[in-house]
């Protein structure tokens, strides 16, 4: 069956090359049937990629070790769910997944927009096909998932730390994000190529961008959660290049999501928006490259592979072509609308963009600096945690504050008087919160205190907005408060969905501040019966047990936990020794307090021969707000993504008025 897989991928390559060439020719020459043919080719490419994917999936599930890839990433004893996840666990499979999602999204984007944005689609097809050509080329010629070998009796198995539910969802979500950013990118280039620089490309891609951005965000949170519970060093983010690889495009996409609103409302920033989406897509390619090429020192870095130079070349080509197109259309992109006042929502959004981009570029600098310094000075210089933490605070804290200010300033220009009235109450809340927190001892970390105070401010503005909006709606004649609230949400999904997302970021900020600025840690070597006290808790080391599971020997130290005399149950921490993979993994014990949201985090660092154990214990205040933030984030995104019939009708009517068909 590998032959079928290989053949399917070759057919895919043929299809996308055709779609690229024929599509480009059709768009340039204005040939309808050729354009349709190119479109069909792009859609067919999804099906052929799907066939190749099914072949690989079947081989995995069947444990067919004649597939070199299957032998390398799974073993007989591996549970089925993880066997399936091995699809994207290795280099070749993950590239195939990229291609599958890419062709899938391309097919969908083209189908959904084929009538009302016909003149854009005709150019979107070749752009999408170009990206697909690169990835198909990689899986056909450079890193094929269908290499065969003499089947060994058993596979090499999967790294134990990857055998975790979070690792099932983390890569696919990230890929939905990375690949999802291709859609707005393709539409932006199509707009440039076709000269249709109106806002249609923005409208067509708004939900795609939002979806990709949400997937990227949730994917990163899942990754952070995995790092927290599975890798278990006590943290959730290490500023590792691979982590930054996903954060950078997410930050650029966040900036883009905000600045498109300015273009929609005021017709400004056309050039900026195009540049931003090119940056976001390039960063997503760069991120994909970073996780594969081994050019940076990373805990996840993978050794030298031949894929790196290809990626770099493609990224370079993409950036060069995109910038060239922008330059070509520069005069048509200029807009006559000017920024009227530094105190306006436009200005707030511009500051937001500036800070997001500054953070993104600072992180990028931190990631490439070792490579650059090695190239220039012959020695790689690595920037540590303190570099990233500094810029996260320097740019992130003002950004947090802006989240509360932006939505409440008027467009065009706002007077100081109206600002004073609007912000009176939230400022008061923030000041009171700040004082209370100082009294409670939050002064031990100034950045932490600032984060809390700003969070209180933003939260107050969000509550205020919901309250005022509901009241205004009720005054217009809604029957009851709940009815007013739901009709408010229904009529202003973007605005209030956005507020919910902001609320999730506030929760995230509070969780991060609490767990990183106000945490405590204790190290101790305990023999049976000894205890250790930290942050109000007392832990007693009770016993050490060993047991066997399907694929590992598990050693667990049991500790009794109490706080202020109350028995809080037991915690287990220890290690798993995986038989086939011959690796040991850390299994931490976490007790999450439902009321305060803090975690008691126990690592059994070293289990000694005499039965004593070296423990490292953390108390992490408010850390569970981070995971809660993920749920709120999803809710907010869902609200914003929800189809808006009113808006649909307006767009359809507008399209009808220029003779574009009324159906979408």
């Amino acid at each position: 069956m590998p032959e079928l897989g290989r053949a399917a991928l070759v057919v895919t390559l043929g299809l996308v090359v055709y779609a690229l060439v024929a599509g480009g020719a059709a768009a340039h020459l204005g040939r309808r049937r050729l354009a349709q043919s190119a479109q069909n080719a792009l859609i067919a490419a999804f099906f052929t990629t799907a066939i190749a994917s099914v072949v690989l999936l079947a081989a995995l599930v069947r444990h067919d070790f004649s597939f070199a890839y299957v032998a390398r990433t799974t073993s007989e004893a591996l549970p089925t769910a993880y066997t399936i996840s091995a699809f994207w666990g290795g280099q070749e499979g993950s590239l195939l997944l990229w291609l599958l999602v890419l062709t899938g999204f391309g097919a969908a984007a083209v189908r959904l927009n084929r009538t009302w944005a016909r003149d854009l689609i005709v150019w979107v097809v070749p752009v999408f096909a170009a990206v697909a050509t690169f990835f198909s080329f990689l899986v056909v010629a450079v890193a094929s998932p269908f290499a065969t070998q003499v089947a060994p009796p058993d596979g090499a198995g999967m790294t134990p730390s990857l055998q975790n539910p979070y690792m099932l969802a983390h890569p696919p979500l990230l890929y939905l994000g990375y690949v999802g950013l291709t859609v707005p990118f393709a539409f932006a280039l199509a707009a440039l190529l076709s000269g249709r620089l109106d806002e249609r490309w923005l409208i067509a891609t708004r939900r795609w961008t939002l979806l990709a951005w949400t997937a990227l965000g949730i994917g990163q949170l899942l990754g952070a959660h995995w790092a927290y519970v599975e890798v278990g060093w006590g943290g959730y983010y290490a500023w590792d290049p691979v982590e930054n690889a996903a954060l950078m495009p997410w930050l650029a996409a966040t900036a883009f999501l905000h600045s498109v609103m300015i273009q929609e409302k005021r017709g400004m920033l056309k050039i900026w928006n195009v540049l931003l989406v090119i940056l976001a897509f390039s960063l997503s390619l760069f991120g994909t490259f970073l996780t594969r090429s081994g050019v940076v020192n990373s805990i996840h870095a993978f050794t030298q592979s031949s894929i790196g130079p290809w990626f770099l070349a493609f990224i370079g080509l993409t950036v060069a072509v995109s910038l060239g197109l922008v330059f070509w259309r520069l005069s048509q992109l200029r807009s006559p609308t000017r920024l009227e006042s530094p105190i306006s929502r436009e200005a707030a959004f511009l500051f937001n963009n500036l800070l997001l981009l500054a953070l993104c570029l600072a992180i990028l600098w931190g990631v490439v600096y070792p490579m650059l310094s090695e190239a220039i000075r012959g020695e790689a210089v690595v920037l540590g945690r303190s570099y990233y933490d500094f810029f996260l605070r320097a740019f992130g804290l003002p950004l947090l504050l802006l989240m509360g200010i932006g939505p409440l300033i008027a467009w065009r220009s706002a007077s100081f008087r109206s600002l004073a009235t609007t912000f009176r109450w939230p400022t008061l809340v923030a000041l009171v919160a700040g004082v209370v927190l100082l009294v409670l001892g939050a002064g031990s970390s100034i950045p932490g205190l600032i984060a809390y105070t700003f969070s209180a401010f933003v939260f107050a503005t969000i509550v205020m907005e919901f309250a005022r909006g509901t009241r205004a709606r009720k005054a217009l004649g809604a029957v009851s408060w709940p009815a007013a609230f739901s009709s408010l949400m229904a009529r202003n999904r973007r605005r209030y969905g956005g507020y919910v997302v902001h609320a999730s970021i506030v929760l995230l900020a509070i969780g991060v501040a609490g767990s990183s600025a106000f945490d405590s840690v204790a190290d101790a070597k305990l023999t049976r019966g000894e205890s250790l006290a930290i942050g109000g808790y007392t832990l007693v080391y009770r016993s050490l047990d060993e047991r066997q599971s399907a694929n590992a020997t598990e050693i667990r130290a049991t500790l009794g936990v109490s706080r202020g005399g109350d028995d809080l149950g037991t915690l287990e921490a220890g290690k798993n020794a995986y038989t086939i993979e011959r690796q040991v993994s850390n299994e931490v014990g976490i007790r999450s307090d439902k009321v305060t949201g803090e975690d008691l985090f126990v690592i059994a660092e070293q289990i000694n021969a005499d039965g004593s154990v070296n423990f490292r214990v953390f108390v992490k205040p408010l850390v569970n707000l981070i995971w809660l933030a993920g749920l709120v984030f999803l809710l907010g995104s869902a609200i914003t993504l929800w189809p808006d019939r009113r808006e649909q009708r307006r767009l359809v009517a507008r399209a009808g008025e220029v003779g574009l068909p009324a159906t979408r």
Partner: protein
Amino acid sequence: MARKASPARLVIALSVAAVLAVFLLYTSIAGGGNPSVAPSALQGRTGEVQLAGLVVGPVTGDAHAGGLRFRLKDIGSKSKTRVAVRYTGSVPDLFKVGRHIVIDGRLRSGVFVAEPGSMITKCPSKYAPKQSGDST
């Protein structure tokens, strides 16, 4: 509409400048990071560096009492240099002889004394061909 220089654009321009200034100030004051060197290049260096190498046995001692002792050699190259390392603090699970690790610290009287807890092990390669002889 006459185009006058709007204060708004000035404010934006100043903000961009401010951001750049923050960046430049930080990098010049806090300085760059630590150079990342291979064991063979360590000889004679006095400052704090990040050492990247392959773990060579024998591994003795206790990282939580007195220090874990092992040696590091270059990854990939044929260099014969072996650097003695003394490490205290958390030892990552993946640590073992033959593993590729990265560790911060400085050279003191011939022994590389590591910053406690600074060891990072590289995950075994997912995205590169495994060496032969790894499967059962």
